[in-house]
Symmetry: C2
Subunit: 242 residues, 2 copies
């Protein structure tokens, strides 16, 4: 066994993804509010798989072809033309078990497509509800890692970076990390981890979701560790339990 | 007088600059290691002006035409074909007084050109050696502000974000700030400000400059407040004392 540790980087915006070598790396897609929390929730509650797509018409077309549920979000609310949105709380076992969810979102599913286009070796999704499952997988694989933050329309957002910090805190001894974004992520997470909910009102996305749409229960779910302990793994166009 | 505060944003990479409205904003170009520290140093020591250019041939051509000094850096060292580099300590009063400095660097002068191309209303440069001068100017102007971090080849770097945090700490009461990058910048600065030199070895750029080129004195200068208390203001192709 080689003693050389694999490398870990944090990419703070989809617009910077091309700066990182993805061909030999696991890319963790991070969209804490809310796509990757919703993906974890739906898979944990028995969804057969999640098909991430980039447009609403494609979500409708593919869900019809597969007999699945079309869902998605634009600018924080259910996308026009769809019946279901991007709330992890919508996908209870009663509703989603054995169903295929076809999902389109503003940031998370777009970043997943970009990771695919940039030749990522392996793609998984991460969020606080499946934090431990992500860390366990990364430690098992012993490969290079890029923690990919979905951000908000290419801007840096703190909640995705905080999740990157949570992962780094747990796995950092096993990786070689020379990356100021990772240093920032783990420092910010360490300073806020004792009560993420108390810090949440400082986040721009909190205001979008809570003040405009009243989604405080979504925020609480999305900031709680291991409520949906599952590993969403991308294979052949869909996210399945890894 | 309007009671509405101007807005302040932090842009953590040149690759994200297009996401911010610059037409009605002061853009602060930040390249702590070392372009904007060098610019402050040279102007403070009596340089007539600094002409930022994007290529070495252009630096040679323009310095010849103006009777100035061509200088520049690529990948942390003096650029091939030039006699002078990007160290703030090179530009003592004896050497630079009444001279025109034509400067090209990897990140800082490139970001300045991008701010210009994106129609910035006003461009200044900032670094710890001229921190107070920057803050005083921003408070006087009462305009929107974009703190533009030069980063490293479009990657996030922490030292530029720390300087953004230092500015924000001093001016935040006078601005409307809804920006996760700014929140992160000021938190990181607050956690490290008591001894920036002690935290410097964690930075990727520190290793590039100190371990490869032995530039510890440059680092110390670049992390010290108000050693070069001057405001570099961009006007008609050159940076002059504002």
């Amino acid at each position: 066994m080689s003693s050389k540790k694999p490398a870990l980087f944090t990419c703070v915006s989809p617009a910077l993804l091309h700066l990182y070598g993805l061909h030999d790396a696991i890319v963790v897609i991070i969209d804490v509010f809310r796509a990757t929390s919703t993906i974890a929730s739906a898979l944990h509650n028995g969804a057969r798989c999640i098909v991430p797509v980039d447009t609403v018409p494609k979500a409708l077309e593919i869900s019809k072809a597969l007999g699945g549920i079309a869902a998605g979000e634009r600018d924080g609310k259910i996308a026009d033309g769809l019946q279901h949105g991007n709330s992890p709380l919508e996908y209870s076992r009663d509703f989603i078990e054995n169903q295929t969810l076809v999902l389109t979102t503003t940031n998370g599913t777009r970043l997943l497509q970009m990771a695919l286009d940039n030749g990522a070796d392996t793609i998984i999704t991460g969020s606080f509800p499946n934090l431990s499952a992500v860390c366990t997988f990364l430690l098992q694989q012993n490969k290079n890692v890029v923690l990919g933050c979905a951000g908000w329309k290419d801007r840096f957002n703190l909640e995705d970076t905080l999740f990157a910090g949570a992962v780094i805190e747990r796995v950092q001894e096993h990786f070689s990390i020379h990356c100021d974004s990772s240093l920032t992520a783990v420092n910010m997470y360490t300073s806020m981890k004792d009560d993420l909910m108390a810090h949440a009102p400082k986040l721009t996305h909190y205001h979008r979701l809570v003040e405009r749409f009243g989604l405080i229960d979504d925020i609480r779910f999305c900031l709680t560790n291991d409520l949906a302990p599952v590993l969403p793994l991308y294979r052949d166009g869909r996210l399945i339990k890894g």
